[in-house]
Subunit: 389 residues, 2 copies
């Protein structure tokens, strides 16, 4: 068995939305298709991968470094010991050959996209849904048959007022979500407080169903001013207040703010995660971690990250990944994470999960077909197929 | 005044050398030429930039994100207040528009390469050597008229024995260097000790003229075993023992090893540097920091990094950058760094400084012509010109 071809394409996931730090008007994603010579139903098995929003597509890196390395490798060096499937760990080692330590960004996306495609292919070859394969190989308990998801939205958009914000959130609740997230930090505190109160009205007055996200915009005085204003609402979480690498700011804020906090979507290696847990002063009892495998070297690295969590006394249940993709849903179900982000309204066709798998009471189920199950999301699958067909 | 065109090319800087972490057989660099409509001697002023070795060329990122952003900007938004030159700080802000915080790698190279070219152009337009311009704008003392440089070599190469290693080091001394560096960690400790002793023989028995570099290869037990073996030689420094982001390892080793240590070439932002200084337990009295502007968002970010050093009680004299390029030489001379790396034998035509500017007692002088002075290094200048002519 071997990889016969790898295709990649950069596609727009642009939108006119804006968070406190960037707009998404030129955002792109890389899509890859890894074609194998394993055959099911008369057709070669193909694994698909893509990166989630927030960092850009990695087309240049894929074409210049990572795809050539994989295609140049001796096929036997990419196989498992039994010789009956690809080995994602060995493939990861090949991908990272010639790469110095440190500097974890961009290339972490290129490797993440390829790793997603490899795991999709591996699970298809093994004829198992990926979450079951992950649970068998790396889990320490039964799989979850449904995964908590929350609806991430509440972006800043030109002309979007409080009523439009409430309508957006009502639509998420109508879809079956119980917890929603909105952006903060893109306007002044007083206006953000009005926005937060408007959304809490829609949530039957329950701030515990609302997460807010500052996207790393705040310095410590601003972050503490927001903490003062937000604390009375007893929110679901207060996310990424300061620069993602300013662990001292996070530690100060962790001491100051009484409620749950969340961060980690902009940490792309287990080494960076370890630093957050060592120095960020976060609370394993009630805080959340949001590392996104698609942006951070994929599942192989995510397993290392989960080991770091264990060493530092954190349960995987405290992890609710950024990115809203189906791979994180499999990680959650198979390895017992706390849930997954979801973008029901934006970043189409990447946002949301399998067609016809509705959100019920804030939880979603996974299709029980081999692989990650992109084939159950028609618009996404059409895009993925277009990369190689 | 405006930028009229930007050219980029990826070129090999491959070599059959190897450190403890990677080989350089497929290493590349990006070269850019920023053409302006300012004219000197009848020709448009062109700024040149390139990245130093160790991370790869950033051609994809330059073509897909950073060059288009710069060319799409309103020309007036890239100028200084006086309107008589480009403003590297405003250009930096344009380059980083749409970029989320965190994840500092790869794009830090793309921005670093462009920033180098911008400063070269700015100094040429101002008709000053860059180190004088930097000293005037950001320095707090007289410029240095010569800069300490050390010869970095001692790589692992197929078939290279102790005599070849000694010959290499003798050649550096013959060129005028007083301090040399060699790789460690690519073979076992006993063999590395033999290599270290062989080189110290050539240095008249003075280990204080030898730096060693593990390139982030060691775990703590290995790093301490090397520390035990190396301490008696009282080396110039012991560099990058462990993973560049493992600040706890560095802190443990900083307590354990009595001599000077060095690290930082794989930290690419002022946020990462701040974490090293906060958590790495390094000694401002005798340790060295090696941040390389060409890999880490350029001079604009380097000025922020130097501010972080000041806040944390470090003198710029403790900084001896990685990378061996002429831009760092200007930073050293203009802003009072401690010196610069040099690769007299490898990474040609990028290694070494201006033709005819010989190393004397381990120091080198800078040409006093406008810009960075690439024009004084014929082989490099021929390559740079080939990007746009």
């Amino acid at each position: 068995m071997r990889i016969t071809a790898i295709y990649e394409k950069t596609v727009p996931i642009r939108s006119n939305i804006r968070n406190a730090y960037i707009d998404f008007s030129t955002m792109t994603a890389s899509v890859v298709a890894v074609v194998t010579d394993a055959v099911r139903d008369g057709r070669p098995i193909v694994g698909y991968g893509f990166n989630s929003n927030g960092r850009y597509g990695a087309g240049g890196l894929l074409r210049e470094r990572f795809i050539p390395r994989l295609l140049a490798a001796e096929p036997a060096s990419l196989m498992n010991d039994a010789g009956d499937n690809l080995d994602p760990h060995r493939i990861w080692t090949v991908l990272m050959t010639g790469e110095k330590p440190g500097g974890h960004g961009e290339r972490s996306v290129a490797v993440g996209v390829l790793d997603m495609a490899i795991w999709d292919a591996v699970a298809k070859i093994a004829q198992k849904p990926l979450y079951r394969l992950l649970a068998e190989q790396f889990g320490d308990g039964p799989v979850d048959d449904r995964v908590f998801v929350y609806a991430a939205g509440g972006y800043y958009q030109p002309g979007k007022g409080l009523e439009a914000l409430r309508d957006e959130m009502r639509a998420y609740l109508d879809m079956g979500y119980r917890v929603v997230k909105m952006k903060i930090g893109g306007v002044d505190l007083a206006e953000d407080v009005r926005r937060v109160e408007a959304v809490i009205q829609v949530l039957d007055g329950d701030g515990g169903r609302l997460a807010v996200d500052a996207n790393g915009r705040f310095d410590l005085p601003t972050a503490t001013a927001y903490a003062d204003a937000l604390a009375p609402y007893r929110l679901f979480w207060y996310e990424e207040a300061g620069d993602p690498l300013d662990y001292a700011l996070q530690a100060a804020l962790s001491q100051y703010y009484p409620g749950p906090m969340a961060t980690g979507e902009n940490l792309f290696s287990h080494q960076d995660v370890r630093n957050l847990l060592r120095y960020g002063g976060m609370h394993p009892q009630h805080d959340y971690l949001q590392f996104d495998c698609a942006l951070s070297y994929g599942v192989v690295e995510y397993l290392r990250t989960l080991s770091v969590l264990k060493e530092q006394g954190w349960s995987p249940r405290r992890v609710i990944p950024h990115g809203g993709h189906q791979l994180s849903l499999h990680l959650a179900a198979g390895l017992g994470l706390g849930g997954n982000e979801s973008y029901p309204g934006v970043f189409q066709p990447f946002g949301g999960f399998a067609d016809g798998y509705h959100i019920v009471d804030g939880y979603v189920r996974l299709p029980d077909t081999p692989g990650i199950g992109f084939e159950h999301k028609a618009a996404l699958y059409a895009l993925l197929k277009s990369v190689h067909e």
